[in-house]
């Protein structure tokens, strides 16, 4: 059985190799399509995972933003500030509030292409760090910024520390301000890895947000439901939106759905193109090998043998094109991510599987092989149904 399979595969490989230019062009075409699928898939899945990861922040809490602010999960990305007093106002006016923490969340686009941030700056009143980072620890030797310190202290994410070679004790300069790195977040979170966390006052000073914030994280009292608290806040305070966890998810869902729909559409179109390409090449191949198929038929080869042979050939082209495409696509996804974010390519390579997850690679490889095999069905049937008398008579 194994020997039969090996023999068939060897025979198919030789058939492909015999028409090496055509095979190479076909494999190259599949590889290009697969590369695009992987690049688009890896890029979108990375951003979707970041958006989804943002959902894990402020779980069970209500986020207050200004009316009209565009929010992705918990974080406002559009214009719309609130006075810093808003946190106090919420606490005073709504009895169901246990705690309200003001925050200033800034996307730093400098150095990045278009609207993708190179990093995030987050200002939080000293001592309230856990509201954002939860139990995330700092790397050994670090500490959180202290309100009493005379220095401008900042904690940076792991990816930033790697990129700029920062450790506790390093100095950095942002918009003319000298900052002292006092800690590095030990986390694999894509969002926190690219974050700089400092005191609210410092962020306001650096970015010119005088007594302004853009979100308040509100914790309900025990026994109070999020929905109930959000309604109460919106009742008592004008021109704000109080978003529960569910509402925040709903807000980002259309964005995620759009990205997923477009990705699926592009992927389908590319697979169809590959399929047409493989079918065309396989049809040309079998029309050139009519005599071979007729001979096989004449000497008694089962139709299933001929069918399997053609399918195996197209499947092998899919396998080679798929593997090449995945390799090229993974590299292209890294180049693209580096281009958009300004993060050096070398920093992406150790985490190649973070950019293009193995499940995505496997999924695309299996799909490419399956698509190639499906593309081989029509040529296989054509080869198996070939009228041997007509083919052989042509040479009598």
């Amino acid at each position: 059985m194994e020997d039969k399979a090996t023999r068939t595969i060897t025979m198919c490989l030789r058939n492909l190799f015999r028409r090496r230019t055509r095979t190479f062009l076909c494999v190259f075409g599949i590889a290009l399509a697969t590369m695009l699928i992987v690049t688009i898939g890896a890029t979108t899945s990375r951003y979707i995972s970041i958006i989804k990861e943002m959902h894990t922040y402020f779980s069970g809490k209500v986020v207050v933003v200004t009316k009209g602010a565009i929010v992705i999960e918990a974080f406002p990305i559009g214009i719309g500030n609130l006075p810093q007093t808003m946190a106090e106002k919420v606490k005073q006016n709504v009895h169901e509030v246990k705690n309200a923490v003001p925050m200033l969340f800034i996307y730093n686009l400098e150095g990045a292409v278009e609207a993708l941030p190179t990093n995030f700056t987050i200002g939080i009143p000293c001592g309230n760090w856990s509201v954002l980072v939860g139990p995330t620890p700092l790397k050994p030797g670090g500490h959180w910024p202290s309100a009493d310190s005379s220095e401008n202290e900042v904690v940076v994410g792991f990816s930033l520390s790697d990129q700029y070679n920062l450790t506790a004790g390093s100095k950095i300069r942002i918009r003319g301000y000298d900052l002292a790195v006092v800690g590095v977040l030990d986390t694999s979170s894509a969002f926190l890895s690219r974050s700089m966390i400092m005191s609210l006052e410092l962020v306001q000073e650096i970015y010119g947000y005088n007594m302004l914030i853009n979100l308040v994280v509100v914790e309900p009292m025990e026994g109070v439901r999020e929905e109930e608290l959000a309604d109460r806040i919106e009742e008592k305070i004008e021109n704000i939106k109080a978003l529960t966890e569910e509402e925040r998810t709903e807000l980002s869902q259309p964005l995620i759905s759009n990205i997923e729909t477009w990705t699926l559409g592009i992927r389908t179109a590319l697979f169809i193109l590959s399929m047409i390409f493989v079918t065309t090449v396989a049809m040309i191949n079998i029309s050139e090998r009519r005599r071979d198929f007729a001979t096989l038929d004449a000497i008694g080869a089962p139709k299933s043998f001929i069918f399997k042979m053609v399918i195996t050939e197209t499947g092998l082209m899919g396998l080679f094109g798929g593997v090449a495409g995945i390799l090229l696509g993974s590299v292209a996804a890294i180049l693209l991510a580096s281009f958009y974010t300004g993060i050096p390519i070398s920093l992406f390579f150790p985490g190649i599987f973070d950019i293009t997850p193995p499940y995505l690679m496997l999924q695309i490889l299996v799909s490419t092989i399956a698509v190639s095999c499906i593309a081989g069905v029509i040529p296989s049937i054509a080869a198996a149904r070939m009228n041997i008398t007509e083919v052989l008579r042509a040479e009598y």
Binding site: K4, F17, D292, A294, D297, I299, G300
Partner: protein
């Protein structure tokens, strides 16, 4: 294997006209005979061989294989007979170009499900018998025309067929090589008791044949 035809007829439609390639042929082929079918090009020799070799279906008339009406056989049964009981030799050899001489000979045995070791041993032996013991790993394009036809004959013998059907086996060969191939087919017939049916123009084949048939306009006549 005995082959018998009754009013065997095969018509083809070419455009609006109908051509009768084989016309009411009655032929009986007994075991271990060497039969030559001669006739000019387009006389219906190849069509007749195609029908006898179960590669084609008659328009009407019957073919009996050991008293079994071939029209009652399923596609799978016809295929099985072609694979295990009939060997084919074509004018243009029809070797698979991507396989070596050895693999071309092994192929029918592999299709018949014989063990790999047996395939290899037998293919080597057959190729040695046709004088190609030193050409085992050569691809068809690396062989001379005569050598290719020898490989084709070895392939035809792979599953120990009872009948070899050869369609103009010397048509592409020079006279010296043609003589060698005729000698080979004659030896197979005499030593292995394999029936050989040859469509040919070659007079040398006619000389060695037990039965000579002539065909013209699809009609067959048994000469001796």
């Amino acid at each position: 294997m005995r082959i018998k035809t009754e009013d065997l007829t095969r018509k083809f439609r070419v455009g609006s006209s109908e051509i009768t390639a084989v016309n009411r042929v009655n032929l009986e082929v007994n075991e271990a005979k060497f039969i030559a079918i001669v006739g000019p090009s387009g006389s219906g020799k190849s069509t007749l061989l195609s029908l006898i070799g179960l590669n084609d279906h008659p328009t009407y008339g019957k073919i009996f294989i050991d008293d079994t009406d071939a029209s009652l056989l399923s596609g799978r049964e016809r295929r099985k007979i072609r694979l295990s009981r009939i060997g084919f030799v074509f004018q243009t050899f029809n070797l698979l170009p991507t396989l070596t001489a050895l693999e071309n000979v092994e192929l029918p045995m592999a299709l018949a499900g014989k063990p790999q070791k047996e395939q290899r041993e037998k293919a080597v032996r057959l190729l040695k018998n046709v004088g190609l013991g030193d050409r085992l790993s050569h691809r068809p394009r690396e062989l001379s025309i005569g050598e290719m036809q020898r490989v084709a004959i070895a392939r035809a013998l792979a599953n120990d067929p009872e009948v070899i059907i050869a369609d103009e086996p010397t048509g592409e060969l020079d006279s010296k090589t043609a003589k060698e191939i005729i000698g080979l087919l004659f030896d197979i017939n005499r030593k292995l008791k394999t029936t050989v049916i040859v469509a040919t123009h070659d007079e040398k084949i006619v000389e060695v044949a037990d039965t000579l048939c002539t065909i013209g306009d699809g009609k067959l006549k048994v000469e001796h």
